[in-house]
Amino acid sequence: MSFLHIENLTKTYTVDHETLMGVDNVSLSINRGEFLSIVGHSGSGKTTLVSIIGGILKPTAGRVLLEGVDICTLDDSKLSEFRAKRIGFMFQFASLLPILTAKENVLLPGIFNPGQITDNDNTARGLLEMVGIGEKLDSYPSQLSGGQQRRVAIARALLNNPDIILADEPTGDLDEETEAEIMHLLEEINKKQGVTIILITHNLGLAGKAQKKYRMSRGQLVDI
């Protein structure tokens, strides 16, 4: 059985008595350590799909099996533990807490998953150095550029040694040079640490760097 198995996943929304299809009967198998990209237009269902995989959204039907465990059946507490221990999220916007320094933002997931990190200072420093901004340890998000904020978000996603990183358009509002740097960082993490990465993007160039490439259209997933 594959590491991550998605089976007949469907998500519908009801807006003003009208049923809208977010994800339409998607099935997919992903092996551990794969780098996978999903491209698609806005509203095609990409974010909905990774949100269900990441356990922050419940599907209307279908299953998401991670090493045989259906995460869709977990209660809030177990699902939160699953997210804290196995998933690293990167969002399509600067998702850092403005009141926390870069170091504190990196360490934030640790307070929801106590006991996993023993040496907070060195762990945060190591992660920020790994993403190339070790000197920005005590800077607040407002003192960082867009690219630096994404790097902090990557470091934060790696804090709990996740099995999967779900990167939802992580370079959306960055310039080309910074975009390339962030992509390079994700590739390095995938290769060196064996972390499974699911990258959502509308940029075909970026999507092409992944081992497996998919397109989403009107909630349906197509192999490209």
Binding site: L57, S80, R83, F91, L97, L108, I111, F112, N120
Partner: protein, 397 residues
């Protein structure tokens, strides 16, 4: 370097908008200070009345008919009043069933303007053989009975008269008295009197400068035998001796207690209104916070925060706010009570100090109420925060 924790994140959240945090703290402090002042006022008046009545040690107080108010003013409020009845009433009181012990006082007010007299003060003459009120206090302070020509000052009187030194001489109604000491504070209106034995009254009456006549006394204190109901014996006394009014220990200060009940109603209403307003303010502010930080909450949920983690984070924030406001309120309320005590005649005329344990209990009540109101106001927004769908709030821009 400090570790990140729920507490440190909550503190940083509070510092994020210091003015808003300040407004909340101020509102809670205001409510708690009002509460502390109201409770301190009520408790100090009520406990002072009880303490005064208890310290007198009498089950029933017998006074001339119509003089009940004067007696309470003299014994509880330290007011200068004179009221007299014939000493023969003592025999009639002794005849009532259930009386175990009995003593009496004669009260005099010295008059300002008499040549060479001390400044106006209240004089209590007692019978040293039967007395069970002054003698125990004397034993504590002087260790021996008073002799003819001697007097001892009450705690408050010594301050008023400026008696820093013992063994000074004073002239009262043309008679020279040696003031041999100062009594410990008793918490009764008698703290503001000068005490002497009744043997001295003969010379005072002969001086002709006091309204007192021979064979007159002011008040009779009685102790009852075990098992006798003070109210019942009191009713019998008033029935058998029409010339007297009787006050049971538990009824002492009834005028105060009635006034106090009305004041309590006003305090209660004001406190309830202030509590509702503060709860509403906390609710409004935390609702705004819930909206402002919804995206951050969604991010935290995506990072692995459970609903209980979100509740804990905001509960810490609320508790810090509530405790900070309550502590400031307790300090302000206590200070206010002490400062304003002199402005209220109810407190001015009685020994209205609170004990440390009473103050501690009132402070605890203030802390508890302030914090509870803060938590109550924030609970609904916090419940809404924790139920937010992470994806929906993350996508909201």
């Amino acid at each position: 370097m400090a570790q990140i924790s729920f507490f440190s994140v909550a503190l940083k959240n509070l510092k994020r908008k210091t003015f808003r945090t300040g407004v909340l703290v101020f509102a809670i402090a205001l409510l708690v200070s009002l509460l502390i002042f109201a409770i301190s006022f009520t408790v100090s008046v009520a406990s002072s009345l009880k303490k005064s009545a208890d310290r007198l040690g009498a089950d029933l107080v017998v006074v001339p008919v119509g003089a009940r108010g004067f007696a309470e003013e003299f014994l509880l409020e330290s007011k200068n009043t004179s009221f007299y009845m014939p000493i023969s009433i003592i025999e009639k009181v002794w005849e009532i069933e259930g009386i175990e012990a009995l003593t009496y006082h004669t009260y005099l007010s010295s008059i300002s303007g008499l040549c060479c007299d001390i400044m106006p003060t209240r004089i209590v003459a007692y019978n040293p053989k039967t007395d069970f009120i002054i003698n125990p206090w004397l034993q504590e302070s002087l260790g021996r009975p008073l002799q003819l020509g001697e007097s001892i000052a009450g705690f408050g009187t010594s301050e008023n008269l400026g008696l820093g030194l013992l063994d000074i001489e004073a002239t009262i109604f043309d008679n020279r008295f040696k003031i041999v000491g100062v009594l410990e504070q008793t918490g009764t209106g008698l703290d503001h009197a000068l005490f002497m034995t009744e043997d001295n009254l003969k010379n005072i009456i002969e001086s002709g400068k006091s309204p007192l006549k021979k064979g007159e006394i002011s008040i009779i204190f009685t102790k009852l035998k075990k098992g006798y109901d003070p109210d019942f014996v009191g009713r019998v006394l008033e029935g058998e001796i029409p010339e007297v009014d009787v006050v049971a220990r538990s009824d002492m200060g009834e005028k105060f207690i009635n006034t106090l009940a009305d004041i309590n109603k006003i305090f209660l209403l004001t406190t309830i209104l202030a509590s509702v307003l503060t709860t509403f303010l906390v609710w409004a502010i935390f609702s705004a916070i819930a909206n402002e930080r919804s995206k951050e909450i969604g991010i935290m949920r995506a990072l692995g925060a459970k609903e209980s983690h979100i509740v804990r984070l905001y509960l810490i924030e609320v508790l810090v706010l509530g405790l900070l406001g309550s502590i400031i309120g307790v300090l302000a309320g206590t200070y206010l009570s002490a400062m304003l005590a002199g402005s209220f005649s109810l407190l001015k005329n009685i020994s209205a100090g609170l004990t440390v344990s009473q103050q501690s209990v009132i402070a605890m009540v203030g802390l508890l109420v302030g914090t509870t109101i803060c938590v109550t106001g924030a609970m609904m927004p916090i419940n809404r925060i924790k139920k937010m769908e992470p994806l929906l709030v993350i996508k909201e821009e």
